[in-house]
Structures are given as C-alpha cells and as structure tokens.
C-alpha cells in the first residue's frame, strides 16, 4: 500500500513541478524514456549479476561460510549471549551473517527469521533481537553484486574499485548502529 501512495505522490508532484517550471514537454517525454531505461538497465545488469550470484554460491559451497563463522564466533557470542547456551541459535545466526556477507539475501532472510524466533521472548523485542535487526539492516556485504552490475552496465571498467569504501562504510554503519542500540537499550527499559 505504501508504494501505491509513493507512486501517486511522485506522479502528482512531477505534474505540479512541471507546471511551475514549464517543463510539460520534457515530462511527457520522460515517461516513455524512463520505462525504456528501466528495461535497458535490467538487461545490461543481467550478465554481471548472474555471474556474481554464481560465484557467491560457489564461495559458500567451498566452505567460506564455516571459516567466517569460526572467525565471527567471539564477536557473535558477545553480541548475542544466548548463543552460548543454544548451539542451534549460534548456527542460524552465523549462517545469517555469512549469507549477508556473501550478498545471498534470499538465503539470509529465512535463517535470520529462524534466529529471531529463537531469540523471541513474548511479544516485546529483546535487546538481542534489536541487535539482530540492526545487524541485518546495516548490510555488511563483501561483494555488492547488484551495485557492481549497475556500474558495469553503465560502462564502468572497474566496477569493484568501490569495494574498500563499501567495506569501510558498512563496518562503520553496523558498528555505530550496534553502539546506538546498546546505548538505547540502557536508556529504554520497557
């Protein structure tokens, strides 16, 4: 429903702005042009996106996930103390984080939801559950395949040169997001 309101809002707002700026002609041209641009973008992304989805699946198959979960164990144990008593929860959580790292969003969500159900105590979000959500909304990705696909679709010769910036940014956003969650958890005791 939200998207319907946004769609109606955008089309209405465009007409209003075009009337104010006298860009009616450009606006009617933009409608068809935009639709075509959507398809063109999707098609030119397809090659790169498929290739990297394949490579990420292969990385998971060769056991990167296990290696990463061993690396993350101390951190996850601290963030989610319940994992110390619940090995199944620990497995789901680290698999969730790994799937996110490899950009396998479709695999990450069901694992995360399973972890969320195990972390749940009643209908109020616990501190650990809030941290799980913040970790998932901050999106730490090793290979942002779809962004790289867009970049190469637009003619970029080195679509992966943004990787260090992406890693730095997601680490900062996840880290500070978790700090904020921790602070808010101290303040808000409901």
């Amino acid at each position: 429903m939200l998207m319907s309101w946004i769609w109606a809002g955008i089309t209405g707002l465009s007409i209003l702005c075009a009337l104010l700026t006298g860009q009616g002609n450009a606006l009617s041209g933009a409608v068809m042009e935009g639709a075509q641009a959507g398809l063109t973008l999707a098609i030119s992304m397809a090659g790169s996106l498929c290739l990297w989805s394949g490579v990420c699946a292969l990385m998971e198959a060769v056991g990167i996930t296990q290696r990463l979960s061993r690396l993350m164990k101390p951190v996850l144990g601290r963030l989610f103390p319940s994992t110390r008593q619940d090995p199944a929860l620990a497995r789901d959580l680290s698999a969730n984080v790994c799937a996110n790292l490899l950009g396998l969003g479709n695999a990450a969500t069901p694992l995360g939801i399973r972890a969320a159900k195990r972390l749940k105590r009643g209908s109020t979000a616990t501190d650990e559950l809030c941290r799980l959500i913040v970790l998932n909304t901050a999106s730490i990705q090793l290979i942002p395949a779809s962004v790289a696909a867009v970049r190469s679709a637009l003619g970029c010769r080195t679509p992966f040169d943004i990787l260090p910036a992406v890693w730095l940014t997601s680490a900062l956003s996840a880290g500070l997001g978790l700090c904020a969650a921790w602070l808010l958890g101290k303040v808000c005791r409901l």
């Binding site: 946004i6 955008i10 089309t11 707002l13 465009s14 702005c17 075009a18 700026t21 450009a26 041209g29 935009g34 639709a35 959507g38 973008l41 996106l49 498929c50 990297w52 989805s53 394949g54 490579v55 699946a57 292969l58 198959a61 060769v62 056991g63 995360g112 939801i113 972390l119 749940k120 109020t124 979000a125 559950l129 809030c130 959500i133 913040v134 909304t137 901050a138 730490i140 990705q141 942002p144 395949a145 779809s146 962004v147 790289a148 867009v150 970049r151 637009l154 970029c156 080195t158 992966f160 943004i162 910036a165 730095l168 940014t169 997601s170 900062l172 956003s173 904020a180 808010l184 409901l190």
Partner: protein
C-alpha cells in the same frame, strides 16, 4: 595487479571447489540461475520506478528537492544530489536501485557523486522492509528502540559513504 583480482577469484573458487570434489560448474550455474530469477522479479519494479525517477527529474522536482535539502546535506558533507537516494533507501530497495542507477548515469559512474551513490547502495539495506519482515515473522508487537537504532545505522552509512569516497578517490 588489481587487473587479476576478479579473474583470480573466478579461478580460485573453482580450484577450491574441485579440491573438495564439489561440482563447481553446476554450483555456478545454480547460483547464476538464482541471480536471473532475482533479476526477473525486480524488472517490473525497475521499469515503473525508473519511469517515476525520470518524471521527477524532467519536471525539475528532483532538483528542487536537492536544492531544498542542500543546506542540511552540505553541513554533513553528503552530496545534496543524493538527497532522493537517501530518502528512498530505507523504504524500497528497487526504488533505491533505480534512483542510484540514474545518479550514476547522470553524473558518470566514476564521478564522486556516482561513486557515493554506489557505496550508499552497497552498504545500506531496505531498513523498514527488513524490520517489518523480521518482526512480522517473529510476531513482535513492541519494537522498542529498533527503528531509531537502525535508522541511525543508515545515517552513519550515508555519512561514511560520502566521506570514504572523498578520502579514497581524491
């Protein structure tokens, strides 16, 4: 050296898979098919949303928005041109992809704005969607501080994207 990074990853993953007696090619095919399925599900949204983005741009609304938000964005060092991306990112993933792709096309993929848009897209998530999926599935009614904390993480992401691009691509 960096020229060999991407082809190197292709070889290394395949070699590792063969050593573990995994069928590397089938796994690659399966993953590629997953990617294609994902793409097919977002194509209709991409077409509609790029239409919307083009309308906003042609009518001058996008420029008005970035002008209007420019004082706030400049204070934090975020390029005002990315205003629409920042606003739509937490709400809709495919809309953000459409807005970001348009920014990259308009200003150039290797321009500071194009790179900032790419880093923003790559390092943040569709926050509201994620929260509703998780809490919906787990049956949580009281979300407490999750929304402000997650939005704060997004805000840090937008800041860090702008700053890191300026730092790493002078």
């Amino acid at each position: 050296m960096t020229d060999y990074l991407v082809p190197g990853i292709l070889f290394l993953t395949a070699a590792l898979a063969l050593r573990r007696k995994e069928n590397a090619y089938d796994i690659l095919l399966g993953g590629a098919a997953e990617g294609m399925k994902l793409l097919l599900t977002i194509i209709p949204a991409l077409i509609l949303l790029l239409t919307a983005v083009h309308m906003l741009r042609a009518s001058g609304a996008a420029e008005l928005l970035s002008q209007w938000l420019s004082p706030v964005f400049s204070r934090f060092g975020i390029p005002p041109e990315t205003a629409m991306l920042v606003l739509v990112r937490p709400i809709s993933g495919s809309a953000a992809l459409a807005v970001g792709a348009e920014l990259m096309a308009q200003y150039g993929v290797d321009s500071p704005i194009g790179r900032t848009a790419a880093v923003m897209l790559g390092s943040t998530e569709t926050t509201f969607y994620t929260i509703s999926v998780y809490f919906g599935a787990a049956g949580i009614q009281k979300t407490r501080y999750t929304v402000p904390a997650a939005l704060f993480a997004d805000f840090v992401g937008f800041l860090a994207a702008s700053w890191s691009v300026r730092l790493l691509f002078p």
